[in-house]
C-alpha cells in the first residue's frame, strides 16, 4: 500500500472521488479506491499475507473438522480438564485484552478527556473485535454451539456466574457494535445513523462500564466454583473477581498502545496526521493509566495472599512460578512504564506494554490451565489441533481487524462537507520523544 501512496493513488478517505462530484460506490469503498487488480497486487506483495495463507490452508479444514467430527477430534477429551485453549485463551485472555473499549469510552465520554479522541475509535474497535472473537472461540468450544441462545431465551440458570457472562457479553457486544457503528455510518454514508448513536452515546458508555465491570469480574468469579482446583496463590475466595477486573484494565490499555504502534508502523498510509501526531503522546498518556493499574493490581494480589495467609505457599515450586509471574508480568512492566512515562520514552512504553500483556496472558493461563488441577498428577497439554484452531481463529481476528482498519475511519478522519474535521490539538507540541 505504501507503493500506491507514493504513486499518489487516491485511497478512499471521504465520500467523494472527485471533490463534490461523484461518490464512491460501496464496492469501490471496499476495494479502498483501488482497481481489483491493484488490490490483489498489493495483497500478494504483503509477506504477512503469505503467512496467513499458510495458517488458513492448514487451519480452516481443521476448524471445519471440529464441527463435523466433534470435540474429541480436536481436544484430548479430558474430563479433568474440560476447559482448554479455546476458553483459556479465547475467552479468559481475549476478554481482558479487549477492555480498552469501555476504558477509552469512559475516559472520553464520561470524564471528558477529548484529547484521547484520536485513539478512542481504535480502542473501541479493539474492544469490539476482541469480544466478537471471544464469542467465536466460545462457539468452537461449546459442545452444542447451536444452543448458544438457550440461556438468553428459554433455559435460565441465574445463580450461575456463566449466566451473567452470557447475558453481559451479548449485551456488551451490542453496545460495542453500536459505538463502532458511528465509524461505519460515516463510511457508508448514513449520517442519520451516526446522529442517532451520538445521542445515546453517554447511555451506551455507562452501560458499557457497568457490563464490563461485572463480566470482567465474573470471569474471575467462575473460578470460585472450583476453589480446590486452582492453586491457592492464584485463587482468592473473596477477591478473585477483583483480581480479574483490575488486571483487565492495564492489559486493555496496553493492547491499544501495542496495536497503535503496530498500525503506525505497518499502516502508516492509512493513518492521518491527527493520528500520527498524537499516537506516541497518547501512548504515554495511556501508560500513566497502565502504571496506576499495575500498581493497584500488585497491591491487591499481595492483599489476596495476605488475607488467607498463603505466604507459606511461596516456598515451593509453584511459589517460584508465582513470583516469576508477578515479577516479570507486573513489577517489571510497572517499573519500566513508570520510568518511561517520566522520561517520555515511547519505545520503552511499547516494550513494557508487551510485557504487561504477557503478564496478563500468563496469569490467565496459570489460573485456567497451568495451576488448575494442581493437586492431580496430570498437566494440561493441548492437542495439536486445538493449538492450530486457536492460532487460526486468532489469524481471522487479525484479518478482520486489518480489514476494518483499512476501510473505516478509525485511524483517519472521514472528510465530509457536513461536519468540520476536528483535529485534537496536541497539548505539548514542543515535546520531544524518543520514538521506538
Amino acid at each position: 500500500m505504501n507503493k500506491f501512496k507514493t504513486q499518489e493513488v487516491t485511497i478512499v478517505d471521504s465520500p467523494y472521488k472527485d471533490p463534490g462530484k461523484t461518490k464512491w460506490s460501496v464496492k469501490e469503498k471496499l476495494l479502498l479506491g483501488l482497481t481489483p487488480q491493484q488490490y490483489v497486487a498489493q495483497a500478494l506483495r504483503n509477506p504477512f499475507n503469505w503467512l496467513l495463507a499458510i495458517i488458513f490452508a492448514v487451519g480452516l479444514p481443521i476448524v471445519a473438522g471440529r464441527f463435523l467430527f466433534g470435540l474429541s477430534w480436536v481436544t484430548d477429551s479430558s474430563y479433568d480438564y474440560p476447559w482448554g485453549l479455546f476458553l483459556g485463551f479465547g475467552l479468559f485472555t481475549m476478554v481482558p485484552l479487549s477492555s480498552s473499549g469501555f476504558q477509552l469510552g469512559t475516559a472520553v465520554e464520561i470524564f471528558g478527556r477529548h484529547d484521547l479522541k484520536p485513539i478512542e475509535r481504535l480502542a473501541l474497535l479493539n474492544g469490539l473485535l476482541g469480544y466478537f472473537f471471544a464469542v467465536c472461540y466460545l462457539l468452537v468450544d461449546l459442545g452444542q454451539p447451536w444452543r448458544l441462545p438457550y440461556p438468553m431465551m428459554f433455559a435460565f440458570g441465574p445463580a450461575a456466574v456463566l449466566f451473567l457472562v452470557a447475558w453481559h457479553v451479548a449485551t456488551y457486544l451490542s453496545v460495542q457494535i453500536t459505538e463502532v457503528s458511528v465509524s461505519f455510518f460515516e463510511w457508508i454514508g448514513f449520517p442519520m445513523g451516526k446522529q442517532a448513536v451520538r445521542k445515546i452515546t453517554l447511555g451506551l458508555t455507562v452501560a458499557g462500564i457497568i457490563l464490563s465491570t461485572l463480566h470482567q469480574g465474573a470471569l474471575g468469579a467462575l473460578f470460585t466454583y472450583a476453589p480446590g482446583k486452582v492453586h491457592p496463590l492464584w485463587y482468592s475466595a473473596s477477591f478473585q473477581w477483583l483480581h480479574f477486573f483490575v488486571s483487565s484494565m492495564p492489559a486493555g490499555l496496553c493492547m491499544v498502545i501495542v496495536v497503535g504502534s503496530i498500525v503506525k508502523k505497518t499502516m502508516a498510509w492509512r493513518c492521518d496526521d491527527n493520528f500520527m501526531k498524537n499516537v506516541d503522546k497518547l501512548s504515554i498518556t495511556l501508560a500513566r493509566g497502565v502504571c496506576m493499574g499495575l500498581a493497584t493490581y500488585l497491591t491487591i494480589k499481595l492483599i489476596g495472599v495476605a488475607h488467607d495467609n498463603k505466604w507459606g505457599y511461596l516456598a515451593s515450586g509453584w511459589g517460584l512460578w508465582y513470583l516469576f509471574e508477578i515479577g516479570v508480568g507486573v513489577i517489571l512492566p510497572l517499573v519500566l512504564t513508570s520510568y518511561a512515562v517520566r522520561n517520555n520514552k515511547v519505545g520503552l512504553v511499547r516494550f513494557s506494554a508487551l510485557l504487561t500483556i504477557f503478564g496478563l496472558v500468563l496469569n490467565r493461563f496459570n489460573t485456567a490451565l497451568i495451576t488448575f488441577n494442581w493437586k492431580l498428577d496430570e498437566w494440561f497439554i493441548p492437542h495439536w489441533r486445538e493449538v492450530v484452531i486457536t492460532v487460526t481463529i486468532f489469524a481471522i481476528y487479525i484479518v478482520a481487524y486489518r480489514f476494518i482498519l483499512y476501510r473505516l475511519p478509525i485511524l483517519y478522519t472521514w472528510k465530509t462537507a457536513d461536519e468540520p474535521v476536528h483535529v485534537a490539538e496536541p497539548i505539548k507540541e514542543s515535546a520531544t520523544y524518543v520514538t521506538g
Binding site: 484430548d76 479430558s78 474430563y79 479433568d80 496430570e378
Partner: protein, 175 residues
C-alpha cells in the same frame, strides 16, 4: 410278667431317646439347603448344612439365638440373654430378599418396636456371614467358588464368551 416287660421296654425307649443329642431333636433340620435367590445370574448354591454343623457345633454363629441355644455375643446378650427359639430359623425368615424395596423400607420405618433397623438383607447376610469365617479358615471366597455364573451372568458381566473381543481404547474409567 408282661407288665414288667412292657415297663422295661418303655424304660429302654426313654433312655435311648434321652441319649439322642438335643439338636437332632429339632424338626426339619436339613442336611443341605438350596440357596436360589440369585438364579437370574448364578447357579443355585448347594449349601452343605450338615458339614457346617460339624465344623461349627455352635448354631448361634449363623442362627443367632433362633435355635434356642443361648447367644454369647456381648452386644447381643444385653437384650437377648434369655431369648427363646423362634418358629422358623431359616435365614430368609428375617433377612428380607428385598431389603431396599419401597415396601420393606416403609415397613422398617413404621415398625417402631424393631431395634434392628440396620439388619442386612438376605444377600448381605449370606455374604457377610459366610465371608468372615471363610476368609479366616480357608473356605471358598471367590464369587464363582460358591455359585458359578450362568450364561445370563456372563452376559451381565461381559465375561466368558461375552467378553470384549479386542481391548478397545475404552473409557471404562479414563483420565
Amino acid at each position: 410278667m408282661h407288665v414288667v416287660r412292657n415297663w422295661l421296654i418303655r424304660g429302654v425307649v426313654v433312655i435311648v431317646l434321652t441319649m439322642v443329642p438335643a439338636d437332632s431333636r429339632a424338626q426339619n433340620m436339613p442336611d443341605s439347603v438350596d440357596l436360589d435367590s440369585l438364579v437370574q445370574l448364578y447357579e443355585k448354591v448347594r449349601f452343605d448344612h450338615a458339614k457346617h454343623i460339624g465344623l461349627s457345633k455352635d448354631c448361634g454363629v449363623c442362627h443367632h439365638h433362633t435355635t434356642g441355644m443361648p447367644t454369647e455375643d456381648a452386644n447381643c446378650i444385653r437384650c437377648h440373654k434369655n431369648s427363646a427359639a423362634t418358629a422358623v430359623v431359616a435365614c430368609k425368615a428375617c433377612h428380607s430378599a428385598q431389603p431396599f424395596s419401597a415396601e420393606t423400607i416403609k415397613k422398617n420405618k413404621s415398625n417402631i418396636k424393631n431395634y434392628h433397623k440396620d439388619a442386612p438383607g438376605l444377600k448381605g447376610a449370606y455374604h457377610q456371614g459366610c465371608g468372615g469365617c471363610h476368609a479366616r479358615d480357608g473356605g471358598p471366597t471367590g464369587c464363582q467358588d460358591c455359585h458359578p455364573r450362568k450364561k445370563s451372568g456372563d452376559a451381565f458381566y461381559h465375561a466368558g464368551e461375552y467378553a470384549p473381543k479386542t481391548p478397545k481404547n475404552g473409557k471404562s474409567g479414563g483420565r
